[in-house]
Symmetry: C2
Subunit: 409 residues, 2 copies
């Protein structure tokens, strides 16, 4: 990938994604294999006026060795200093910029119990920080850049170098970083998402009904005073930012006790490096009543067992089939892209900002409204090119929102 496009991508990440302000502390999470790009982002952040730009380096390979070879006792606790690091940064109102380049099979063959134990410990310990991000109180943004292993996973039949170049091309295109004025392009895109959101928020549907040729026949209730969200969001100071780049979805908060019917996934799901394929859920009164998978049923079970909230929904998201990423007809094995290829649902915690006043409620208060609490939040795709979505109002009237996978509103 040429340096000029890389610089565009780094600039978008800093100026549009995280929207770094003068005097800001910035914390970049960067895989060591992407050091060149990480330092570019660091420089862009200083150019934007940051007072301090720190890089947390991550290395998938040694992380895997650590997971495979450490003593069992290691995984049941999370060091307090790591919690304090996040607290310290949160206190400084840091912007978090995460560069994701993970190997989709990183955690493959690692004992699931071990992963579950550690996830539980770390998520429990960093709950406050996660809440800061999930409520968008602090600005954060995630982008992806290709690793060799990721590129080979997406393009298994290409040579390494060609696979990486191909993946780069898709990513730069998906992130709208390849035009003469990427910042202007993002504003245009944001306005389209804003119009859909405005329509849906005004319509105030009480339920959505989904059907697809794959067999989905599903109705999901929306909580009262739910808010459709997408594109840029606002932090606690009202400063806009994009948590994900690219971003094509708009989403809101389902009522965790009012989801019924069959949902058939339209894309595989990755969980802790394990592939789950051709899976489906049947919901009754909000909870998963039955589930099945051709591959990875055990992984599916381990998700549902995390806690009570993991078998209820926390997000419902609409993405047109014609989205640039959907059109790439490529399985990215990476949620940042795959979730922007198709409409989806998420098991687990709901985003407090997707209901009026939600940021000010604690977990119990959110649950009382129909929101969901869990240590986890896992997306899965069910959108197809023949998906139909109808909105049902409290008076029983029905409006078609999407037909053949496209918005018709």
């Amino acid at each position: 990938m040429n340096n000029e496009l890389l610089k565009n991508y780094a600039k978008l990440f800093v100026q549009v994604g995280g929207n770094v302000q003068r005097g800001q502390t910035v914390v970049i999470s960067c895989p060591i294999a992407c050091a060149h790009f990480g330092r570019m982002v660091q420089d862009e952040a200083y150019d934007a006026g940051a007072s301090e730009v720190l890089i947390d380096w991550v290395d998938d390979l040694s992380y895997r060795i650590w997971f495979l070879r450490s003593s069992d006792t290691v995984f049941s606790t999370y060091p307090q200093w790591k919690v304090d690091k996040l607290k310290d940064q949160d206190k400084k109102d840091a912007v978090y910029l995460q560069i994701d380049s993970s190997d989709p099979e990183l955690l493959k063959d690692i004992n699931l119990e071990r992963i579950k134990k550690y996830r539980k410990a770390s998520r429990g310990a960093t709950k406050e920080h996660s809440r800061n991000l999930m409520t968008n109180a602090q600005r954060w943004s995630i982008i992806a850049i290709p690793s060799t292993s990721w590129a080979k996973k997406v393009f298994p039949h290409l040579a390494e170098e060609e696979a990486v170049e191909n993946l780069w091309n898709l990513i730069i295109k998906a992130a709208r970083a390849d035009s003469d004025d990427p910042v202007a392009d993002w504003i245009k895109h944001r306005n389209i998402l804003a119009k859909r959101i405005e329509y849906l928020n005004n319509a105030d549907f009480s339920k959505l009904r989904f059907s697809t040729g794959l067999g989905t026949d599903f109705t999901v209730g929306l909580v009262q005073n739910h808010i459709w969200v997408g594109g840029n969001v606002l932090d606690k100071h009202g400063t806009p930012f994009f948590p994900n780049m690219p971003t094509e979805e708009i989403f809101t908060m389902p009522d965790r006790n009012s989801c019924d019917g069959r949902v058939v996934a339209s894309m595989p799901m990755f969980y802790s490096g394990n592939l789950i394929e051709d899976f489906e859920f049947t919901f009754k009164s909000g909870s998963v009543e039955k589930y099945d998978a051709r591959i990875g049923k055990e992984s599916l079970a381990s998700i549902l067992e995390i806690d009570e909230g993991a078998s209820q929904l926390g997000e419902v998201a609409l993405v047109p089939n014609s989205s640039p990423i959907g059109q790439m007809k490529t399985m990215f094995y990476n949620l940042l892209f795959d979730e922007n290829a198709a409409s989806h649902l998420a098991l687990g915690k709901s985003y407090p900002f997707s209901v009026t006043g939600g940021e000010k409620l604690n977990d119990e208060e959110l649950k009382a409204l129909g929101g969901n609490y869990s240590l986890t939040h896992i997306d899965f795709m069910f959108g197809t090119s023949d998906m139909r979505v109808a909105g049902l109002k409290h008076d029983g009237s029905e409006t078609v929102i999407m037909e053949n996978g496209e918005f018709v509103i």
Copy 2:
């Protein structure tokens, strides 16, 4: 460098350098450019029975950007969570393995005031941890591996690849990692150092007198009950380890109030990336009374200004001119090697374990014995191929210890 020799080097580092024990926590500090070797060390440590092996990644280039571009206020504090991280690891009795591959010119052209301010903040905050290492209560070991920039500094006229290969060859040889049985070689070497130490501890000299053709004419008092140390040392449990690999020096504690005469350096010194060349000190009653340098006098001044102890001595070390590293006739621009090429002195903090019972004394008590306290500890070489060293006893008798740079005892 072939993988077999690398594995030897990693094994020596883990088994001899840090002497990792079953059930141990190990913390590796590794430059991101040396990730392959870092993961080898991680695997060797698990092979030795470690319960958890963590890697702290460091990146010189982004550290330099941070130093150059952050706001001034950033450098006057050191985050508490970093202190707590060290405390947590120390509490677990972690072994610290540091892989050094820094660019000798990393901090070149960075404002010296800024570096001084940050060193002071960080050293003040991590004083307790430093003490754990300097008293050898906890095991630690440092080795070096070539970076391209370091190799080019050592071999400026060679192409990058050749320079790195050359430097690797010297390092593997200097570390005695190239034989069929490197561990046995280290034991043989340790025994030679142990004999010199035994002689000097029995002799119990009160002073050492140094003279060289370069103009050194210098007498240094040794504190009462000083201990000569070198080769392996023992941690608080009595477990042996080698803080530095390679190691050729033996050293003890000078009396910080009893150093007199002229010391002319025999090799350049690096301080915060700045070269100091052709420099000398004149000591009177222990303190630097005069100093000069053909290049870098300002850097020299900034060292002496760190605190009171920085202009007094904390270490005197003897290295034969014939040591393998001395024989390489190569300026490594890296203390780990250069300090093992020649006899040297250190400005700043003395090692508490180089006097009987020193580990149990606080800084003030050590100072009362003639030890030195400072936030810094900086070695400089003055050994030459014509150096003469004599030991003076309390009764006035004199014994020649080294002649023409070699031990004659």
